[in-house]
């Protein structure tokens, strides 16, 4: 089951441990790879509009660490970090990722993220697969929003919230 959105972000759950996000970009693969791996580029786009990236350290080599910290637009900080497990320029990145303060206890163990870049007809398809340590962790992260029965329960949740407003 895949859910798209007006901005072209598609989210799916191909296995019980994974969340997959796919997005196409009108740029060659080498450029997209640079944009997602070099701090001077990452600082320009990673985070919501209004979030300010205060730390962006990337040691792009196998075993190298990365760390991102933002001052969030609503106040407060969010930090995450990890390690590069596999690097194939410009097509593949495998990293670990963990939030400084996980939103759910079960997310504390973090994820292994696989980023694949494929170029087709001048566009680059970036596929990010976040693999959780357990199904429970994935479901917690996914909430009920992004897959089958889930989208439905999210609708129901939204309806419920409306009745409470």
């Amino acid at each position: 089951m895949t859910q798209g959105s007006p901005s072209g972000l598609a989210v799916s759950t191909p296995s019980e441990l994974e969340i997959v996000m796919t997005r196409a970009f009108a740029a060659p693969r080498a450029l997209v790879f640079e944009a997602i791996t070099k701090p001077e580029h990452i600082r320009r786009w990673l985070g919501r509009r209004g979030d300010v990236m205060t730390i962006c350290d990337v040691d792009l080599r196998v075993g190298g660490k990365w760390r991102y910290v933002w001052t969030l637009r609503e106040g407060g900080e969010m930090g995450m970090s990890g390690e590069f497990l596999q690097i194939v320029v410009p097509e593949l990145l495998v990293t670990t990722e963990a939030f400084d303060e996980p939103y759910f206890e079960v997310m504390g163990a973090g994820t292994i993220n696989t980023l694949r870049l494929e170029e087709r007809e001048g566009r680059t398809f970036l596929t990010t697969t976040a693999r959780y340590k357990s199904r429970q962790a994935r479901d917690a992260a996914l909430g009920t929003d992004m897959e089958t029965g889930a989208a439905e329960s999210y609708d129901r949740l939204a309806e419920l919230l409306k009745t409470l407003a």
């Binding site: 072209g8 996000m21 997005r23 070099k38 580029h41 786009w45 990673l46 759910f104 919230l161």
Partner: protein, 135 residues
């Protein structure tokens, strides 16, 4: 994303509590107002103890509370965890949507400035781009 005063694991309890159709039905019923346990159990083809089990799950997740005002302690809905969970879901998606939209714009700017120190150049000084190009 959401900055939260709630304990980190309470969100997973919220989601777990919402995963069951009976419990969602109970919440919908309570959205209409305080209700006694007997009344809550009526529409379901299950024993009172079974309904009480669902109520305990909802209570642990902080989604319902017992009213102190009356003898029969009717249950009432506590919407705060629901709103918190919904906010988190929204944030998760928005974080990536906005980031990727910004990346999209940024890549366009890199390419329009190509040949003048773009991403595939020497990496010195960063690419030329105008700030806040996107409304």
């Amino acid at each position: 994303m959401v900055s939260t005063d709630q304990p980190v694991d309470s969100l997973s309890e919220t989601f777990a509590a919402l995963a069951d159709p009976t419990r969602r039905a109970i919440l919908s019923r309570l959205a209409a107002g305080e209700t006694s346990v007997t009344e809550l159990a009526e529409p379901f083809d299950m024993s009172l103890p079974a309904v009480c089990k669902h109520l305990r799950v909802l209570e642990r997740a902080g989604l319902i509370e017992r009213s102190r005002r009356r003898q029969f302690r009717p249950r009432r809905l506590n919407a705060a965890p629901l709103k918190h969970a919904a906010a988190w879901l929204e944030d998760y998606r928005r974080f990536w949507e906005e980031s990727f939209e910004r990346l999209d714009d940024y890549l366009q700017e890199l390419q329009s400035g190509a040949g003048d120190g773009g991403a595939e150049g020497d990496g010195q000084g960063g690419p030329k781009m105008k700030k806040g190009a996107k409304p």
